[in-house]
């Protein structure tokens, strides 16, 4: 006798649209019509785990079940693409360390403020915020500053990984040996980030579509949100970017992924040309010419 695997349930078009819209309104991730197969494949396992017969029932579950919120949280783990690695996008990081941080330091210390708050929004498994911490460690002028790096993500699974801070080869594809030697040690068959770096970073949970939670994080000097809003449609992008604008201090910076831009999204930011990269900045209030 051969073991026959039941063929997956096909997803009808209206089911697809309903489920897609629920996901969209939860987190802004938008599956266009071509992604139906993708969604079907990723959710098939949830169907059998919940003992549901078809995607209509699954849609009803998402909409009405007592555990709907938890389910939505859980499927974020399978729906999001969490690909990331240390020192991703070196041009931008060079602009960050060589130009943006020195500028922020001089502006802020001029006001007698020696704190720096950096947010890695959509940090996935944590490589990005730890990279930021390692880079800042090497900026001598920052000694004595109070630095807070906050990494957040919607997927709970990646947060666990980020907090643990143990990584394998794929995360180190562009990492220089000297960094590995200084900031990692062997642990559990992988490399673990040293305590002094982990201490600089706080990992927490956040759906970028949750305005309230976003406001709770407080004001930032700089936001990294790289390779996250590419999954959003225009309206969602607008909404999130406007919330970023609110979260930033005047003169603060927003760093997007290299293939992302705010063109057609918002004019709230000005695009600054640095030697190494072009970066969005929230204008200083004075520069807005608000008048008396």
């Amino acid at each position: 006798m051969t073991l026959s695997l039941e063929p997956g349930q096909p997803m009808a078009d209206d089911e697809f649209r309903n489920i897609r819209d629920s996901i969209y309104s939860h987190c802004g991730i938008y599956f266009d019509d071509d992604s139906k197969y993708l969604l079907e494949k990723r959710l098939a396992r949830r169907l059998s785990a919940l003992n549901l017969n078809n995607y209509r029932e699954y849609y009803h579950f998402l909409k009405y079940d007592r555990n709907k919120d938890q389910e939505m949280m859980d499927i974020m783990d399978v729906l999001t693409t969490n690909e990331t690695y240390f020192f991703r996008e070196s041009f931008q990081l060079a602009a960050f360390t060589d130009e943006i941080i020195p500028e922020l330091m001089s502006v802020k210390s001029g006001r007698g403020d020696r704190t720096l708050r950096i947010w890695s929004a959509g940090c996935s498994t944590g490589e990005e915020p730890y990279t930021i911490a390692m880079l800042l460690k090497d900026i001598p002028g920052l000694r004595g500053w109070k630095i807070e790096i906050i990494g957040t993500d919607i997927s709970q699974r990646v947060l666990q990984h980020a907090r643990r801070g143990v990584y394998t080869k794929a995360s180190f594809r562009v990492t220089e040996d000297s960094y590995i030697k200084r900031f990692f040690y062997e642990c559990d068959g992988g490399l673990k980030v040293t305590d002094d770096i982990r201490e600089m970073v706080t990992i927490s949970h956040l759906n970028l579509f949750d305005k309230t939670r976003m406001m709770m994080l407080g004001k930032m000097d700089l936001i990294f949100c790289r390779n996250v809003i590419i999954y959003f449609d225009l309206a969602a992008k607008k909404r999130v970017v406007e919330d970023f604008h609110r979260s930033l201090n005047d003169g603060g910076f927003l760093l997007l992924g290299h293939s992302e831009s705010l063109m057609n999204v918002t004019t709230l930011f000005t695009l600054r040309h640095f030697k190494n990269d072009m970066i969005y900045q929230k204008p200083e209030r004075a520069a807005l010419g608000g008048g008396p």
């Binding site: 919120d69 949280m73 807070e148 906050i150 957040t152 709970q156 947060l159 666990q160 907090r163 643990r164 305590d195 982990r198 201490e199 970073v201 706080t202 990992i203 927490s204 949970h205 956040l206 309230t212 939670r213 406001m215 709770m216 994080l217 407080g218």
Partner: protein, 670 residues
């Protein structure tokens, strides 16, 4: 009634249910037409039929003549069921029957007189006291004893002197018995009356006298009761012990000292073993076990120490036994130490705990040894005791036990180390660091607890980022308790943690930190989807910005539900001002019964006028529980208006329980 003949026949039917239902069908008919049948049914063989008849009769609201006729039934000597039914109906009619009852108390038939008195006791109204007092001198002993008994039931303390006098004049044992027990019920402590002293020594009365003294005696009863400790009959001994304990409990301090001194003089005497013999923690007589435990402590004889281990291991008696052992002092502990080698593991564990709890220095060596005991139970007790005794030299051994400990044992080890860290922080810090690096989350959580004791904000700020939520939770809580304000930022971020428990303690901790800057993020946390987080945030806001919290509650209250509303109400109650109570008043219209009850409770403590204002609606509330609570609250308030409201509500009330309460309350007003 269409056909009396039919009813008469039906009442003869062998079918119990038929007889019952025919009586039931007479409900609401003219009593004159149907009384005959009802009275017949009151003497029916079946209890259910009799009951139905009594109910139908009482429900008919009988007038004086019918009551007189009812009372005549009491004369039927052949049918006990009938007599009892009649008596039951009279009791249900209550004071409506008082005139006829009083008349009956002078009947020529002693059986009827006794019945009349019994019914007076059943009704329990003080109006009958004069009749009962007179009946104390009835020539029939059954009648006079019943009079004494019911004076006790009615509870008018004015009857005490006459009861005492009657004890002297009546020599019948049976009467004296009833009178003594009535005196016991009336119970206002006073010097032992001469009348009672005269009876002491007559063995037959000893138990009832001791019981009585337990109720009415003051410290002057001590000599009698001390003698009773060695009474011949066990029941009398027990009664004396319980009585002594009761008197001791209610005495004023100077008299209590006097009593205690008299007890202490028993130390070393043969009374102590007799006392110990009465100690039965598994027996049914709780009061006895409590009394013996307590008195053994007062006597302070070291021989009691080992026997007191049994109550110490019994939850209900444990704290009493601990006090007793503490009162016995070091000599008792020495006795325990001598007994230790012969004890089983349960007792050994108990002794270690006691040595720690009572700070028994000479037990330290034993505690040290017990850390190596083969029994985990003993080791755990020893760990705790070592902490309480501050045996910092034991820290390495205690740490050594961590490896094999289960979660409960580990809890004991950690709390012990928390105490010992104050004496010697170095080894505790070392183990905390080791635990912080452990793979096991529960170990890291333990380390957070230790770092909290060590006030080590640095380590806590690292643990607050742990991958395991329980570790984050413990660290966040510790940061709040230690009030490390430099970590406020971390706490604020913890407000968006994915685990609600962490968010909740973060909201609490921000309140503990006491920095008003946290109010803004806490306001946002009020929108959390977990109600416990919302509640914690609200409480913290109340701490940090009491002047603003009223505004916050005002906006929350209209949409809040369940737990959050309860917290809102608690906050409002703590504010207690007019504006706050105005908001509490709005909750009286809430659809959730529990919330209305809570609001009622708060208003009855702070501003009853608001209940009066809402009385009409509340007394017509669909939930009986609310009507009940409203009635209670109203009764506690002064004024005619509340009374009128209650009376009006009583007319419409359909729930038996609530109606009974309202009746009692309205009567209480009278």
């Amino acid at each position: 009634m269409d056909n009396p003949e039919k009813v008469r026949n039906a009442l003869k039917s062998p079918d119990e249910e038929l007889r019952r239902s025919v009586i039931d069908s007479l409900r609401g008919q003219d009593l004159g037409d149907v009384c005959e049948f009802i009275f017949t049914a009151m003497g029916d063989d079946s209890w259910r039929v009799r009951k139905e008849a009594v109910n139908v009769f009482v429900a008919a609201g009988p007038s004086g003549d019918f009551i007189t006729a009812l009372l005549e039934l009491l004369r039927d000597e052949d049918n006990a069921g009938l007599r009892n039914s009649a008596a039951e109906a009279v009791i249900m009619l209550g004071m409506q029957a008082s005139r006829q009852l009083k008349a009956l108390a002078g009947d020529t038939d002693p059986g009827v007189r006794k019945f009349a008195l019994d019914m007076m006791g059943g009704i329990g109204n003080a109006e009958f006291v004069p009749v009962l007092l007179a009946a104390l001198h009835d020539p029939d002993v059954n009648v006079s004893a019943a009079a004494a008994e019911h004076l006790g039931t009615i509870g008018d303390t004015g009857a005490v002197p006459e009861l005492l006098a009657a004890i002297v004049t009546h020599e019948e044992v049976f009467f004296r018995f009833s009178a003594l027990s009535a005196l016991g019920k009336l119970g206002i402590p006073a010097p032992v009356p001469e009348e009672i002293k005269q009876l002491v020594g007559q063995e037959i009365f000893s138990k009832v006298i001791y019981d009585c003294l337990g109720s009415i005696g003051d410290h002057t009863a001590a000599p009698i009761l001390l003698e009773g400790f060695l009474a011949g009959r066990k029941s009398a001994r027990c009664a004396a012990v319980k009585a002594f304990n009761r008197i001791l409990q209610r005495c004023a301090p100077p008299e209590r000292r006097e009593l205690s001194d008299s007890l202490r003089r028993l130390s070393g005497s043969e009374v102590v073993p007799a006392f110990i013999a009465l100690l039965d923690v598994e027996g049914k007589d709780n009061a006895l076990a409590e009394a013996v435990t307590n008195l053994l402590g007062v006597i302070g004889d070291a021989r009691a120490a080992v026997p007191l281990l049994a109550p110490y291991l019994t939850e209900r008696l444990s704290s009493l036994a601990l006090n007793a052992l503490a009162a016995i002092g070091p000599a008792g502990m020495d006795a325990l130490r001598g007994f230790y080698p012969h004890a089983d593991e349960k007792l050994c564990g108990a002794m270690c705990t006691l040595f720690g709890e009572l700070g028994y220095q000479a037990g330290d060596g034993l505690i040290r040894e017990a850390l190596h005991d083969p029994s985990p139970l003993v080791r755990r007790a020893a760990v705790k005791a070592a902490g309480q005794r501050g045996l910092s030299d034991c820290i390495p051994e205690i740490i050594g036990l961590l490896g094999e400990a289960d979660s409960e044992f580990r809890g004991a080890i950690i709390s012990s180390l928390q105490i010992l860290a104050r004496k010697d922080s170095v080894p505790v810090r070392a183990v905390a660091c080791r635990l912080a690096d452990s793979e096991q989350p529960q170990h890291r959580r333990d380390s957070a607890l230790l770092f909290a004791t060590l006030s080590d904000g640095g380590y806590l700020s690292r643990l607050v980022k742990d991958e395991d939520p329980s570790v984050r939770q413990a660290s966040v809580a510790a940061i709040g308790k230690l009030q490390i304000s430099s970590l406020q930022g971390i706490l604020q971020i913890a407000l968006v943690d994915e685990t609600p428990d962490v968010r909740m303690v973060a909201a609490e901790a921000l309140g503990e930190l006491g920095n008003a800057e946290a109010v803004a993020p806490l306001m946002l946390a009020l929108r959390d989807d977990d109600s416990r987080v919302q509640c914690a945030a609200l409480k913290s806001i109340a701490r940090l910005a009491p002047e603003e919290v009223l505004k916050v509650v005002r906006t929350l209250l209209p949409t809040a539900r369940g737990l959050l509303t309860i917290t809102c109400l608690e906050v409002l109650a703590s504010l207690g001002n007019d504006a706050a109570l105005g908001l509490v008043e709005t909750v009286l219209t809430n659809g959730d019964e529990e919330l209305v009850k809570l609001a009622l409770n708060i208003l009855s403590r702070h501003d009853g006028e608001r209940i009066v204002r809402n009385a009409e609606r509340l007394l017509a509330h669909p939930y009986a529980g609310i009507r009940y609570d409203t009635a209670v609250a109203l009764a506690a308030l002064p004024g005619q208006k509340t009374r009128a409201a209650l009376k009006a509500a009583l007319k419409k009330e359909e729930n038996n329980l609530v109606r009974d309460l309202m009746k009692r309350l309205v009567k209480g007003f009278a």
